[in-house]
């Protein structure tokens, strides 16, 4: 299963690779990274038929996580990928907007990787 992580912070890639190094090694999880909403859409287009889980930050310059979520939910009719949104602590407004737009789950910054791991295992 491919997981697309969208965040404008470059080091998120390194962090995920380290945090999930065992899972990556065992090829249980396959991470793809995008550093903006626009890049995420491009990457998604190139891996159309694969089962995708998207983990996106909301607060990004350019296309925001919410816009990306909207586009994904609008464009991918059958079966739309699972989208988990990462929101800042206490940001209820974005959370409810994301929910209205069809976000499947939420994670709060700072990320609790143990929680994320168990959630991913449930989905996989």
């Amino acid at each position: 299963m491919k997981i697309l992580v969208v965040d404008d912070e470059q080091d998120v890639k390194v962090l995920f690779q380290q945090r999930f190094r065992k899972e990556i090694k065992k090829e249980e999880l396959d991470f793809v990274f995008a550093f903006s909403g626009e890049e995420a859409l491009k990457k998604m287009a190139s891996m159309e038929q694969e089962a995708v889980l998207i983990l996106s930050d909301i607060n990004m310059p350019g296309m925001s996580g919410l816009e990306l979520l909207k586009k994904i939910k609008e464009n991918y009719v059958a079966p739309p990928p699972v989208v988990m949104m990462v929101t800042a602590y206490g940001d209820e407004e974005n959370r409810s907007t994301a929910k209205e737009l069809g976000a499947d789950d939420f994670l709060t910054k700072p990320l609790d990787f143990n929680e994320l791991k168990s959630k991913l295992k449930d989905i996989v």
Binding site: Q18, N59, P110
Partner: protein, 451 residues
């Protein structure tokens, strides 16, 4: 002789008058009145009874006594002229009487001379009286003049006093006004520094959310990479136990890489806190070698996230183009940071405002770029907002000019920016096209260039 009693009466009357002026109701007043009555009675008696021989001598003695008094007492000084006028006549009279008593035949021989002397004395008396009269008149006019002069002096001094009062009043008024002006001036100065401080604080308020976001991210990395390293280290222990040296080496490499990340993000948070402190502190006014690219990048992030914190739906594309050839520039970092922040805040405000118009295909974009020229450094801030009309463009650097609704802008941002740039010996230019966007270009002298 009728002359002596009249002269006596006149003199006594005069003495009495003068005495009254000096001190009224004295006993002397009464005595003198009686003296006048006595003289009058004696005169009448003399004219009715044949006692001229006796009365004549009474008159002589009285007049000589009075004459003596007149010459001795300064109070009677004014009577002297009159006395001198009548004196020859009286003396002739006395001599006549004396000769008549002592030696009558001699009287007959000198009678002609005496008559002649009498005429002379009479003429003398008339001349003296005329002169005295004239003198009196002159004295009177003189006195009148003196009185008028005194009156005038009194009037002048009264006027002077009045004038002095007015001048004192005016002086007090002016002094008061001066004090009030000084007070107002100090008030204004205080207000100005308060305004500058509040402008700073206002921009800091706008930054708070951005700062929180910007600090949260590196802190998350620090925490996460630390946790990862802890895991990696326990794995490393296991591999050491197993004697798997290759794996240990790979783990050590990862750990070192993560430590670098921890340090990097720690520094990032550190810089943000420092920047924030610098921004809120009063400017030291000290020029320092500053990495202008880092400064611009930092404030771009702070401004962007600050605005996003206020308006969550807002988003913009950020375009940065930092000239790598530009390393450090000598400037006051707090001040120049404030300028950059102000320009960016304005740019974001402009594109945000245009976003609300919901124009099809509008992508809010804010750009900041730096460029190193031969002797100058350029910092450019652009936005694709609605731009501004010429009338607004002409006023934007004036203090308190703001297009923002009341309470949203202090109207000091750009005027302060202008002052800061001028203090750095630089220039600021603005080009703006309505509905297309605005570009601010700061040009700074690169006096102490790349370090």
């Amino acid at each position: 002789m009728i002359l002596e009693p009249l002269v006596l009466l006149f003199i006594v009357w005069h003495i009495r008058k003068n005495l009254r002026l000096l001190s009224p109701n004295t006993l002397w007043d009464k005595y003198l009145l009686w003296a006048m009555i006595g003289i009058t009675i004696l005169f009448i008696v003399e004219k009715t009874l044949p006692i001229t021989m006796v009365t004549n001598w009474i008159w002589h003695v009285l007049i000589l006594g009075v004459g003596y008094l007149i010459f001795r007492l300064p109070v009677l000084e004014r009577m002297r002229t009159t006395l001198i006028a009548v004196l020859p006549l009286i003396i002739i009279n006395i001599i006549e009487d004396l000769v008549e008593i002592i030696y009558l035949p001699l009287y007959e021989t000198i009678e002609n001379y005496l008559d002649f002397a009498f005429v002379f004395a009479l003429t003398w008396m008339i001349a003296m009286l005329i002169r005295s009269n004239k003198q009196n008149k002159a004295l009177k006019t003189e006195r009148k003049k003196t009185l008028a002069e005194e009156e005038r002096n009194k009037f002048i001094s009264a006027q002077k006093e009045k004038l002095e009062v007015i001048v004192a009043e005016r002086t007090a008024e002016i002094t008061k006004q001066k004090d009030e002006l000084m007070h107002a001036f100090t008030e204004l100065k205080n207000t100005q520094s308060r305004l500058i401080q509040s402008e700073k604080m206002a921009s800091l308020g706008e930054l708070t959310a951005g700062i929180a976001h910007e600090i949260q991210n590196p802190l998350n990395f620090v925490n996460n990479f630390s946790e990862v390293n802890k895991e990696l280290l326990s794995e490393m222990e296991e591999e050491i136990e197993n004697g798997n040296l290759e794996e240990v080496k790979a783990l050590a490499k990862d750990i070192i890489g993560n430590e670098d990340k921890i340090m990097l993000h720690g520094k990032r948070a550190d810089n943000i806190v420092k920047g924030m402190l610098q921004h809120s502190r009063s400017s030291t006014g000290k020029k320092e070698l500053t990495d202008i690219n880092a400064l611009a990048d930092e404030y771009l992030r702070l401004a962007y996230h600050g605005l996003r914190a206020k308006d969550k739906s807002f988003n913009a594309t950020l375009i940065t183009d930092f000239d790598a050839a530009l390393k450090t520039v000598t400037l006051v970092p707090q001040d120049m940071g404030r300028v950059i922040l102000n320009l960016l805040t304005n740019a974001f405000y402009a594109v945000q405002k245009k976003t609300t118009e919901q124009i099809e295909g509008f992508e809010p974009t804010v750009g900041i770029s730096t460029k190193k020229n031969k002797n100058t450094v350029l910092i450019t801030v652009t936005d694709n907002g609605n731009g501004m009309p010429k009338a607004v463009k002409e006023k934007i650097f004036q203090p308190f000019f703001s297009t923002k609704p009341t309470g949203e802008g202090t109207g000091l941002g750009l005027s302060m920016s202008y002052d800061i740039i001028k203090a750095h010996g630089g220039e600021i230019e603005v080009t703006s096209e309505e509905s297309t966007g605005t570009t601010f270009i700061i040009q700074l002298p690169d006096a102490i260039p790349n370090h």
